[in-house]
């Protein structure tokens, strides 16, 4: 039975020789994740199961990032529930304020997710780790509780849509623009219940960070997971974050795909997703200079070092337009430190931007940059639903870090090329 990459990982973790789409399986998990919103609910459910200990204290990661550092008394109490549980259970990968970051940037950086592994997280953007060739998917708090107790989770084996990438991204086009284009094409339920597998000659030129951005937004097309074929870049990345043994899986050449979509990377342009769906995209150049009030650069989608380098490149020697608030949030402490070392933080502050400690903050309308009625923000985040960043009458426009920074300078939505020409491809991967 030929299998897709996702199906192979699921089969192996279920102890089966093969699986097929639609089959319900129970699989072992390599890592279980929760945050300050979802873990407290999961902990309450875990306590009902009646087991004294978690299945493996080294295979659980708990990250206070959504309303942390504690936004108010209620969120402080949620964080406390998680902290006390972590202490009592001896959870090895609990990340306290000062060491934490946004979970989906933090876990790969800490070497907690490697190719071929199976990860469930009580957060929908757990699909981010597909970037490294892992199967990872978002679940609810009850699933998290069950997985913490039993080390297993139930799955319906998904069908897959294959995306064959050709060519290279050019100019200011980034991984964010690629995934926004794809979601614009297939819609917010275009990959419902399916996995999105990314393969093809175009992969080679996509940085690991761009792959994280792409896989992160698979859920925005309704997908169960997004997954990238493992290549030289993946191996080099894995070696740089961990010395653990891992296993590579590749789709069979005759695996069945529900659909194959060929993507010509050279044709991707900087995109903007208009409110109130991530699929509502158009080229930034066609956004008619829509005026804005705020820019947010950060989140699990685009808060990594290459993202900050791109934003700083645009902001260097320029200023945030009058009447615009620009908030930059490095995704992890490591990213923050690196940005300090490289002088990026200085560039941001000099341009008139606010720089925050790592947090999800405004991405989910939590804190650190909430919008008032009628206000408009360009954000490098992943969702622009009604009320996502604050008042139900506010608006969120999704874009890449370069585009968002350009909008901050212009005070309205523009293509970054209007502010400054793009450096050569790959510049932000290595440039210090």
């Amino acid at each position: 039975m030929p299998m897709t990459m996702t199906q192979k990982i699921l089969a192996d973790h279920a102890g089966l020789a093969s699986v097929e789409a639609g089959q319900l399986i129970e699989a072992k998990v390599d890592l279980v994740l929760g945050n300050d919103v979802t873990a407290p609910v999961a902990i309450k459910e875990f306590e009902k199961i009646g087991v004294a200990e978690v299945f493996d204290r080294r295979r659980i990661a708990l990250v206070p990032d959504h309303f942390a550092p504690n936004k108010d008394i209620k969120s402080a109490e949620q964080c406390k529930i998680m902290r006390e549980f972590a202490r009592k259970q001896g959870i090895e990968h609990y990340f306290e304020i000062g060491r934490m970051g946004i979970e989906h940037a933090l876990l790969p950086e800490q070497g907690l997710v490697l190719p071929g592994e199976l990860v469930v997280g009580a957060d929908s953007h757990t699909c981010t780790y597909g970037a490294v060739g892992a199967f990872s998917t978002g679940v609810g708090s009850t699933d998290m509780a069950a997985a913490m107790a039993a080390g297993t989770a139930w799955f319906k084996v998904p069908q897959a849509i294959r995306f064959v990438l050709h060519g290279t991204l050019e100019g200011w086009a980034t991984g964010k623009d690629l995934i926004l284009s794809i979601i614009g094409e297939i819609g917010v339920d275009g990959a419902l219940y399916r996995s999105m597998e990314f393969v093809g000659p175009g992969l080679a030129a996509l940085s690991m960070e761009e792959r994280f951005t792409v896989a992160n937004m698979a859920i925005e097309a309704g997908a169960k997971n997004g997954i990238f074929a493992v290549d030289e870049r993946t191996r080099a990345w894995a070696a740089s974050v961990s010395s653990r043994h891992y296993r590579e899986y590749a789709a069979d050449s005759d695996a069945e795909y529900e659909r194959t979509i060929v993507v010509d990377l050279n044709r991707i342009k900087p995109q903007i997703a208009f409110p109130h769906l991530p699929s509502n995209v158009r080229p930034a150049a066609d956004a008619e200079k829509t005026p804005i009030d705020q820019v947010v650069i950060g989140s699990c989608t685009n808060g990594r070092i290459e993202d900050l380098r791109a934003a700083a490149f645009v902001l260097k020697g320029r200023s945030v337009a009058e009447g615009v608030r620009c908030i930059v949030i490095p995704a992890t402490q490591q990213v923050y430190r690196q940005a300090l070392r490289e002088g990026l933080v200085d560039t941001f502050i000099e341009a008139g931007a606010a720089v925050s400690t790592p947090t999800c903050g405004p991405c989910l309308g939590g804190h650190m940059g909430i919008l008032a009625a009628g206000e408009r923000a360009v954000a490098t985040t992943n969702r622009n639903f009604v009320g996502r960043m604050g008042h139900p009458g506010s608006e969120v426009y999704l874009a890449s870090p370069a585009t968002a920074a350009a909008c901050a300078v212009a005070g309205c939505i523009v293509d970054p090329g209007e502010i400054v020409a793009a450096p050569p491809r790959g510049y932000f991967e290595t440039h210090l």
């Binding site: 192996d12 973790h13 279920a14 102890g15 089966l16 319900l24 399986i25 129970e26 072992k28 390599d30 919103v37 979802t38 407290p40 609910v41 309450k44 459910e45 009902k48 009646g50 087991v51 295979r59 959504h66 209620k74 949620q78 071929g116 592994e117 199976l118 009580a122 957060d123 929908s124 757990t126 978002g138 679940v139 609810g140 708090s141 009850t142 699933d143 069950a146 107790a149 297993t152 139930w154 319906k156 917010v188 339920d189 419902l192 219940y193 309704g222 653990r244 043994h245 891992y246 296993r247 899986y249 769906l277 989910l364 309308g365 939590g366 969702r383 639903f385 009604v386 009320g387 139900p392």
Partner: protein
């Protein structure tokens, strides 16, 4: 004569941010969450919904975040069932896991109007629109999911399984001793 329940009708792509806005996620108390249920799409819902009412929606209901607060809020608001043309994946599993009945039925989702009186037979998956005299059939749950629902949700299901000695493990295809893709050391 069957007694119907009032249907509350919503469009495609109702996301978890409008079911429970994130600004209320600093609590996990069901009653508090229910007080804000559907607030950003239908400010009247929470104050007017009655015990047993039914939500009917289009495609991709519950898309967005994995917050279980969404089905919890719906359940705590008294809603007895959600009928949609399709559900977002995580919402679907969360609803099953917490014991909120949900039915996938495109015909019912298309034809039922807000305010119609609707009744549901969970045994057969049949949906009756008493206002319009129509009957629809929803896709039944697969057996594995039925087991979870029969146990009263995922927590009692897992609790029962963890109490079962390994030799007498249930028939679910769970492999206890297979090598895995990686190990954390």
């Amino acid at each position: 004569m069957k007694q119907g329940r009032r249907a509350w009708k919503y469009p495609d792509n109702v996301d978890t941010d409008v079911i429970v806005p994130a600004r209320y996620l600093t609590t996990s108390d069901p009653a508090e969450l229910a007080a804000h249920c559907m607030e950003d799409i239908d400010p009247d819902f929470a104050s007017h919904v009655a015990q047993g009412d039914i939500i009917v929606a289009g495609e991709n209901f519950g898309c967005g975040s994995s917050r279980e607060h969404a089905p919890i809020a719906i359940k705590a608001s008294g809603v007895s069932c959600v009928i949609a043309a399709s559900f977002a994946r995580i919402f679907y599993r969360n609803a099953i896991n917490i014991g909120l009945p949900i039915l996938e039925c495109a015909d019912a989702a298309a034809e039922i109007k807000g305010g119609d009186m609707v009744s549901v037979d969970f045994e057969t998956g049949e949906i009756y629109n008493l206002t319009r005299g129509a009957r629809y059939r929803a896709a039944p749950f697969p057996p594995f999911v039925r087991d979870i629902v029969a146990a009263g949700g995922l927590i009692p299901y897992i609790a029962a399984k963890l109490r079962t000695p390994k030799s007498a493990a249930p028939s679910a295809p769970l492999a206890e001793d297979t090598p895995q893709g990686g190990t954390l050391q």
